[in-house]
Amino acid sequence: MSDRRNFLKGVVAASGAAVAATALPTPAEARETKQRPPEALGLLYDATLCVGCKACVAACKQANDNPAEFSTVDQLWDTPLDTSGKTFNLIKMYRSGTMETKDAEENGYAFMKTSCMHCADPSCVSACPVSAMTKDPKTGIVEYSADACIGCRYCVAACPFGIPKYQYDSPTGKIGKCELCRHRYKDGHYSACAEVCPTGATLYGKTSDLLAEAKRRLALKPGEKAVFPRGNISGGKDQSYENVVGNYQQHVYGEKEYGGTQVLKLSGVPFEKVGMPNLPPEAAAAHSESIQHMLYGGLVMPLAVLGGMAFIAKRNVHHDDDDQKGEN
């Protein structure tokens, strides 16, 4: 009977410890959602300025040495239907009813750029077990290193934007994603998509400048004329021109989503309709790392449990030893 009581005590104590270990929040160790670095670089994509010419898609292919991908029988030119391990940037089209009016939700059409958002607190960086996905502390660019990568594709599963993609058709497949053309900076270039964009729909620069520009546009009166910059908003020659102000959703996508992203977006059609998910302000990486740090921070909890288990096991395993001597 006492044996049973001890056993039950043990069960209660152990389950209690397990519950406490996994369930009780310790706010001191909770990891807050990270913010963008002050010098963060990014893009501003304004769907109302985009004419769907896809010059940015072609420039991206060239800048990253990626081959054409086909979705038509005749295979005449690059026609990917989604980003892939070999297509890092794509303009997708929204279609509704008669498609009469640009940037209208009903009976309209609209464009949306799909490429890495360069999150302030990226899920892919938190997920990657081998630091193949890293976030540059200064520029905030989410960078990928194939030399480090083990190809586990946890980043692919983790990203809420579906951005990192794997090359399944190769025995040595890599992850492919936009790195904001960081390899072209040393030659005085910047993101190829922004460099070639004829309307300034894709604009390159510091995210702080881009955010101010986005807010300026939201304050403008739809239908009136205004000046829009092109190319690089944070430096270089002035390429601004006059265009008509779009009928914007009053929302800078990426300002707050998952703690903010370095690529920002403006659209006339609600963002969920053009493939941009509704995300909370806290990053999933913060939740995941809070749990991880709470349970394993400094290995305090595992070592404490190990010590307790070793103490109990030392007593109980000893009994077995005696028994076996008796048997042998």
Partner: protein
């Protein structure tokens, strides 16, 4: 306790022929698997799997590793019972349970390599400078690797006995308590972390499974599945080797299992109610149906073996063990695949169902486990000795 234990029969090889219909079928399935893996390593993952960027993880991850390692929790669950809760009477169950765990985990570890797109870099995960301690997968990988080593050491007395290495066994016995302690802490760590893997996927996981309590839910079910597997495996071994079924052990073990299962059910529903996520279970969609299939599997054992009389019925114990294992399968499939929605509902084009070659690799891994279990139990001292051996 001591007296209780010495009354048991020591483990002994079952003996008998290694070549029979079962081992032959296992051999054929393993050969098919090897052929498919050759294609996979020469031409890439796309050549044999249906994996895609919407579902980058398929059954090689979710079944072979996540479910496979949970099924391998028998060793951990029984060792806890014997050494931590000091229930020495379950000692005869340890070696067979540990053997199944050893295979389950070792194969899960090997299976990971098949799925890694850049497998030659796998060592980076353990290498300072590459490894990322913030990553849940880092924790899982390190803990599972350490546990595989610990289990081989825990099991090594079976080999030492076979080869008469008395000294080695004595030395190991001196540190056995520490191996046992590691053997309980490491699975607690990684079985909970296997659940934490989905936290970083955020809103892409249905709220029925996306909870901060997911590590606790995975840990509790891993322990329960451990007992379920012992019930299942004891019944199968008894029937296949025509041995006496160890009802005097399985009946109370089943009771412990039901207690843990009840705790899990309370935490599971409590969490859903507190988070206000229970509504997702009453939507008319596949995900809600999958949730209820999972829950019914976990509730079935209460109906099957709720009474002491039913727990002495081997058929019902077998069915209850099977139900628990199915519940574990569904919970993990649901959390990782069925409740997973790439792009959070704005990008609906992705579909995944495993290809035939993908399935054949998973089946081949299972065949290795069965074949290994047969060879080792017939040739090494694992199962308790019986007075008259009738193995075929």
């Amino acid at each position: 306790m001591a007296a209780n234990h010495s009354a048991h029969h020591a483990p002994a090889p079952v003996g008998g022929n290694l070549f029979n219909a079962t081992t032959f079928v296992c051999g054929v399935l393993i050969a098919i698997m090897i052929a498919i893996l050759a294609v996979r390593f020469i031409f890439g993952l796309g050549a044999v799997t249906n994996l895609n960027d919407g579902y980058p993880w398929g059954i090689w991850v979710v079944v072979d590793v996540v479910i496979g390692s949970a099924f391998a929790c028998g060793g951990f669950s029984v060792a806890m019972l014997v050494y931590i809760f000091n229930k020495g009477q379950y000692h005869p169950l340890i070696r067979p349970a540990l053997l199944a765990s050893l295979f389950g985990y070792t194969l899960a570890g090997i299976g990971v390599i098949f799925d890694l797109g850049r497998w030659w870099n796998f060592w980076h995960i353990f290498w300072p400078g590459y490894s990322n301690p913030n990553s849940v997968m880092f924790e899982v990988a390190v803990c599972i690797s350490a546990y595989i080593v610990v289990m081989w050491l825990e099991f090594s007395p079976a080999f030492f006995e076979k080869w008469g290495m008395v000294d080695a066994k004595k030395k190991l016995n001196k540190v056995l308590f520490f191996l046992v302690a590691l053997g309980t802490v490491l699975p607690m760590m990684h079985q909970s972390s296997l659940g934490t893997l989905i936290v970083v996927m955020g809103v892409q996981i249905n709220p029925l499974w996306q909870t901060k309590l997911i590590p606790l839910l995975f840990l509790l079910t891993a322990v329960v599945i451990g007992y379920g597997v012992v019930l299942f495996e004891s019944c199968v071994a008894a029937s296949a080797y025509r041995r006496k079924i160890e009802l005097h052990l399985l009946e109370p073990l089943a009771k412990v299992m039901l207690g843990m299962l009840a705790l899990f059910i309370v935490v599971r529903f409590g969490d859903l109610v507190v988070r206000g996520a229970l509504g997702h279970a009453f939507k008319a969609n596949l995900v809600a149906l999958a949730f209820w299939v999972e829950m019914l599997c976990f509730l079935a054992p209460f109906a099957l073996i709720g009474s002491a009389g039913a727990r002495r019925n081997p058929a019902k114990l077998f069915l209850a063990g099977t139900a628990i294992m199915l519940g574990g399968i569904f919970m993990r499939l649901n959390a990782f695949l069925i409740g997973y929605d790439t792009g959070v509902g704005v990008d609906t084009g992705w579909r995944y169902f495993p290809s035939v070659p993908e399935l054949m690799v998973t089946i081949g891994m299972f065949a290795i486990e069965v074949l290994g279990y047969i060879i080792i139990t017939r040739r090494f001292p694992v199962l308790p000795r019986e007075d008259v051996q009738v193995a075929h």
